[in-house]
């Protein structure tokens, strides 16, 4: 079951997973002189503001993905960069610490997936290109055909998957790629192919675009992403990211509702990052997208494969980076080996498995964090160790770099886990804990 000259590939979804798949499939096919036709079904207009043009995401491109794309010749043009990040500021209930990029280089990008938040159309100048729009255009320049329609159905036709779209159009494909997010209604369509696919377990995140204005964002946030590890029940992670005149608030946790959001806005550490006297606007560009927190079941069969959030992804971070990795693995499998279930099992599945296993470690890390979070003296010790690492240029920055990678999504949870448990980190933590304890006893 191999791709031949003239083979057709249908990609459902023109977000990063779909566009990366098209780009890598076409690039690799060109390398081996294979002439393939790639169709991308994407009805969304990425130039539109608000939910109509957006694929609902925090909009941060990790350091590792920026580097990977640059190495692959995909250079994010300045027109899509809303902001860049040079540091992370960690806030706990007690104090804050800033972790700077060792290289003094901008390698983390803040982007919008669509044309910007609701209401951005009234401001000038507008962001010129959305990230998703840029990748889709890039796929088109590589030779992909964009069909601006929503695929309506999928069925088997003599062993080949067939896509239906409005006005009675249909096409049989040699390979169908499901490049969809968990929020896409198109996911249901894959039930029609009956190959036992089940989407991964998900939870809901909360994302809100807050308008502060350019100067206030610069003054309050700078070029730093602000990460909050606060003792608020059900909340795993809060981040505020600068994006030009906007600040993007991201809350990850379990069962996020209005009461919880209100509690987050009311936390003193959060208030420090909001303009004085600022009140939650009645209407903001807010969404609660589903995010992947598990592994899919049967993400492929003969001539059909799932990539992106509907397949294996990374827990709580760098979903676009995971889509990039799966798309690369898919292209290599399809072009170099074939499109049978056996080929995907042998060459594509190891990438999925590696992501899924790493997420298990991620769950363990977040579980450990939830256990320790109520103890403010542990938070204090962590912040003291980071401060000491940051203030001494000759000190090995084990904990700072582990946290940097946790926030930026630049490294695997396995690596972060290993570095967090480094003997030097443990020694420093115990030393600071004992010093603080002795100080308290003396004080009493």
């Amino acid at each position: 079951m191999e791709l031949k000259n003239g083979s057709r590939i249908g990609i459902i979804g023109g977000g990063p997973a779909g566009s990366f798949s098209a780009i890598f499939l076409l690039d690799l096919a060109r390398q081996v002189d294979l002439d393939i036709q790639v169709d991308i079904f994407e009805p969304r207009d990425f130039t539109l503001t608000g939910p109509r043009g957006c694929n609902m995401c925090g909009g941060v491109i990790s350091e590792s993905l920026v580097q990977k794309m640059a190495s692959d010749g995909i250079h994010l043009p300045d027109e899509i960069l809303i902001d860049t990040i040079e540091a992370y500021t960690l806030h706990s209930d007690i104090s804050s610490v800033r972790i700077d990029d060792d290289r003094e280089e901008m390698r983390i990008a803040c982007i919008y997936r669509g044309g910007g938040p609701t209401g951005a159309e009234t401001q000038t100048p507008l962001p010129k290109i959305s990230f998703d729009g840029y990748l889709l255009e890039l796929a088109k320049t590589k030779g992909a055909r964009h069909i601006p329609e929503r695929a309506r159905g999928l069925e088997w036709d003599e062993g080949f998957p067939c896509i239906h779209w409005p006005e009675d159009n249909q096409q049989r494909y040699d390979l169908v790629v499901g490049g969809l997010g968990l929020n896409s209604p198109g996911l249901k369509m894959f039930d029609g192919l009956d190959f036992g696919y089940l989407p991964p377990k998900s939870t809901k995140a909360f994302i809100s675009e807050l308008y502060f204005g350019d100067e206030e964002v610069e003054r309050l946030l700078g070029h730093s992403m602000h990460v909050f590890i606060l003792n608020i029940p059900r909340v795993k992670f809060i981040a505020i990211t600068p994006k030009g005149p906007y600040a993007t608030l991201i809350i990850l946790g379990d069962g996020i509702d209005q009461a919880l959001v209100k509690q987050v806005y009311g936390a003193p550490e959060i208030k420090k990052c909001l303009p004085q006297g600022w009140e939650i606007p009645v209407q903001t560009c807010t969404c609660q997208p589903k995010i992947n927190i598990g592994a899919p079941v049967n993400p492929f069969t003969n001539r059909v494969v799932m990539v992106g959030d509907c397949s294996s992804s990374r827990l709580y971070k760098d979903g676009i980076g995971a889509a990039y990795r799966l798309a690369k693995s898919l292209a290599y499998t399809a072009i170099s080996h074939g499109v049978s279930e056996e080929d995907f099992q042998r060459f594509f599945m190891p990438t999925c498995r590696s992501l899924d296993w790493d997420n298990r470690l991620g769950h363990l890390l977040f579980f450990g964090d939830a256990l320790l979070r109520p103890y403010s003296w542990i938070q204090e010790a962590i912040i003291t160790v980071i401060r000491q690492e940051q203030s001494d240029p000759d000190s090995p920055r084990h904990l700072s770099s582990a946290l940097w990678d946790t926030f930026t999504g630049s490294s695997s949870y396995r690596n972060i886990f290993r570095r967090s448990l480094h003997p030097v980190v443990l020694f420093n933590l115990v030393r600071v804990l004992l010093t603080n304890l002795a100080r308290q006893l003396l004080h009493r």
Binding site: S64, Q67, L81, M106, R107, D214, G244, K328, Y332, S411
Partner: protein, 137 residues
Amino acid sequence: MLFHSKKSALGKTYEDGEIIIRQGEEADCMFVILEGKVEIIVDGESDDAFQLALLKEDEVFGELALFDDQPRIASARALGTVRVLSVDKKGFLQWIGEEPSFTLRILIKMAFRTRTLISEVVRLRKELRACQNKTES
């Protein structure tokens, strides 16, 4: 400007004449040119320095560092204002482990450079032989 401030650009900016990497230095990353031109020079600090290559936007340099542990074999200097993005060796090796096809583009570039170098060696040998023949006759 509202959305496109100068700071909203990736990488690091070097001014005209600034050395980006120095010959003999330890190497732990390669660079991708995002904007501007970079000249690769050998023996940059002595009088007989010469330009080995002139690279422009989208090209990479310092990529040998990703594959071996040797010091830099040449220096890179900014020609005009240049913006480059560094790619860490550590991360790169990890990504190859995750996805071998990741190296393809870098290998293609290295293959192209090897080809150019071989052509250059052949040309120089021919010139040398012509010179020797001339001297003998």
